[in-house]
C-alpha cells in the first residue's frame, strides 16, 4: 500500500511526468491551448497509459521467458499503436464529441513519449503487475495535471502583450519553465 501511495505522489508531483521527467512534451505543447481539450486529452492518455502498462507487463513476461528482451521496443510500440487504434474506434462510437475535439491528436497518443516511457520505466524498475498499472495510471494523472495547469496559464498568456520574436511557442516554453520551477518545490516529497 505504501508503495502505491509513493508511486502516486511521485508521478503526480515530485517526479511529474512532464515537468520533471520530460515525457510527453509534444502533445503538452500542442493540445494545451484550451482547458477542456486539455482535460479530455489528459483523460484519454491516462486510460491508454494504464492499459498499455498492464498489457506490456504481460508481453514482457513472455519476452523474458523466450529470451527476446531485445524485441522489447518493437513489441511495446506495436502494442501501444494497437491500443490507441482500439481506443480511437471506441471513442468514435461512444463519445463522438470528444473524438471530434481531439481530432488528429488522438492517433498521436501513439507517439507520446509518456506512454512508451512509462512502459519502459516499469520494466526497468521491475514493477509487478499492480505497481506497473498504478504507475501507468498515476503517470497519466500527472500528465493531465501538468497539461491542465499549463492550459490555464496559456489561455492568459496568449492574450498578453509580448515581443514579436517570442510570440507563440517561445513564451509558452518560458511559462512552462516557470511551472517546472514551481514543481521543483515538490522534490522532497519522496516517501517511497
Amino acid at each position: 500500500m505504501q508503495a502505491i501511495i509513493g508511486i502516486l505522489i511521485a508521478a503526480l508531483l515530485s517526479q511529474n511526468f512532464i515537468l520533471v521527467k520530460f515525457y510527453g512534451i509534444c502533445p503538452f505543447m500542442g493540445v494545451s491551448k484550451k482547458i477542456d481539450t486539455a482535460l479530455g486529452m489528459g483523460m484519454a492518455v491516462t486510460f491508454v497509459m494504464a492499459l498499455a502498462s498492464a498489457v506490456c507487463y504481460g508481453l514482457n513476461l513472455a519476452l523474458v521467458a523466450l529470451k527476446l528482451e531485445y524485441m522489447q521496443t518493437v513489441v511495446f510500440i506495436l502494442a501501444i499503436a494497437s491500443i490507441v487504434q482500439v481506443v480511437e474506434m471506441f471513442l468514435k462510437k461512444s463519445v463522438p464529441a470528444l473524438y471530434k475535439a481531439l481530432g488528429v491528436f488522438l492517433p498521436l497518443i501513439t507517439t507520446n513519449c509518456a506512454v512508451l516511457g512509462v512502459v519502459l520505466v516499469n520494466v526497468q524498475n521491475s514493477y509487478n503487475f499492480l505497481l506497473s498499472t498504478v504507475n501507468g495510471a498515476a503517470g497519466g494523472l500527472g500528465f493531465t495535471l501538468a497539461i491542465v495547469l499549463f492550459a490555464s496559464v496559456r489561455e492568459r498568456v496568449n492574450k498578453a502583450d509580448c515581443p514579436e520574436c517570442f510570440k507563440g511557442f517561445p513564451i509558452a516554453l518560458i511559462s512552462a519553465g516557470l511551472l517546472a520551477l514551481a514543481f521543483m518545490g515538490f522534490s522532497g516529497l519522496s516517501i517511497f
Binding site: 520530460f22 515525457y23 531485445y70 518493437v74 507517439t111 516511457g117 519553465g177 517546472a180
Partner: protein, 214 residues
C-alpha cells in the same frame, strides 16, 4: 533536389526542433552536456537517414492502411539496432542517455519525415532529407547543450573534453545549477526558438530590402 537549399532548410527555416517543434522530449531532457547532445544528435541522424532510405525503397509496396504501423516497426528496428550497438561499443553514452535511446522510436521527427517525405519521394532524396533534418536537429541540440552546460555547470565540453570534466569557464561556485534541471531546459529552448524566429524575420527583411532595391 537542391542539396544546399535542403541543408539551409534543415538548419534554419524548417529546423525540426526550432520551427517544426518536433522531438522536444529528448531536446529538453538530455541536453545537459555536450557529450549527450552530440551522441543523441548522431544517433537520431543515423536512424532517421536509415529509416528514410528503407521506407522510401518500400513505399510502393506497403499498403496505405497499415503504413503507420509498418513505419513504426521499421523505425523501432533501427532504434533497437543503434541501442544494442551503443550498449556494446559506447556504454558511457548508453548509460548517460538512458531510457531516451529507446524513446527515439516515438521521436516525432522520424515518423514525421517518414510520413511527409520518405513515403512520397525517391531513395536518394529521402536519404538527403534524413541527413539534413538530422544535422539541423543535432545543431539545435548542440546549441541548447552548450548554453545549458555553460550556465548550469560552468563547463564546456562535458563528457568529452578534459578527460570528461569539460573545460571550466565559470568558476565552480557561480553557475546556476537550475539550468541543468527541467527549468533550464524549458527556458533555454524558449530563448533559442525566439532567437531563431528573430533570425528568420531579420533575413526575410534583408532579402525584401534587396528585392526592393533592385
Amino acid at each position: 533536389m537542391n542539396f544546399k537549399k535542403q541543408f539551409r532548410e534543415g538548419l534554419l527555416t524548417k529546423n525540426p526542433v526550432t520551427v517544426q517543434l518536433l522531438g522536444m522530449c529528448s531536446t529538453l531532457a538530455i541536453t545537459t552536456s555536450l557529450f549527450n547532445g552530440i551522441g543523441m544528435g548522431l544517433a537520431v541522424t543515423i536512424i532517421l537517414t536509415c529509416s528514410n532510405i528503407l521506407i522510401s525503397a518500400l513505399r510502393k509496396v506497403i499498403p496505405s492502411q497499415i503504413r503507420i504501423a509498418a513505419y513504426i516497426t521499421i523505425i523501432a528496428g533501427f532504434v533497437t539496432i543503434v541501442d544494442l550497438l551503443l550498449q556494446a561499443f559506447i556504454p558511457a553514452l548508453s548509460e548517460s542517455l538512458g531510457v531516451f535511446i529507446p524513446l527515439i522510436v516515438v521521436n516525432c521527427i522520424i515518423l514525421g519525415r517518414a510520413e511527409a517525405f520518405a513515403s512520397k519521394n525517391g531513395v536518394l532524396a529521402s536519404a538527403v532529407d534524413g541527413l539534413t533534418q538530422g544535422i539541423g536537429y543535432t545543431v539545435a541540440l548542440i546549441i541548447v547543450c552548450v548554453i545549458r552546460e555553460l550556465l548550469g555547470s560552468g563547463t564546456f565540453g562535458g563528457g568529452l573534453l578534459n578527460g570528461g570534466e569539460g573545460i571550466r569557464i565559470i568558476p565552480a561556485q557561480y553557475p546556476a545549477m537550475q539550468m541543468v534541471m527541467p527549468v533550464g531546459g524549458f527556458l533555454v529552448l524558449g530563448f533559442v526558438i525566439a532567437g531563431s524566429q528573430w533570425l528568420m524575420k531579420y533575413l526575410e527583411k534583408k532579402s525584401k530590402k534587396k528585392e526592393a532595391a533592385k
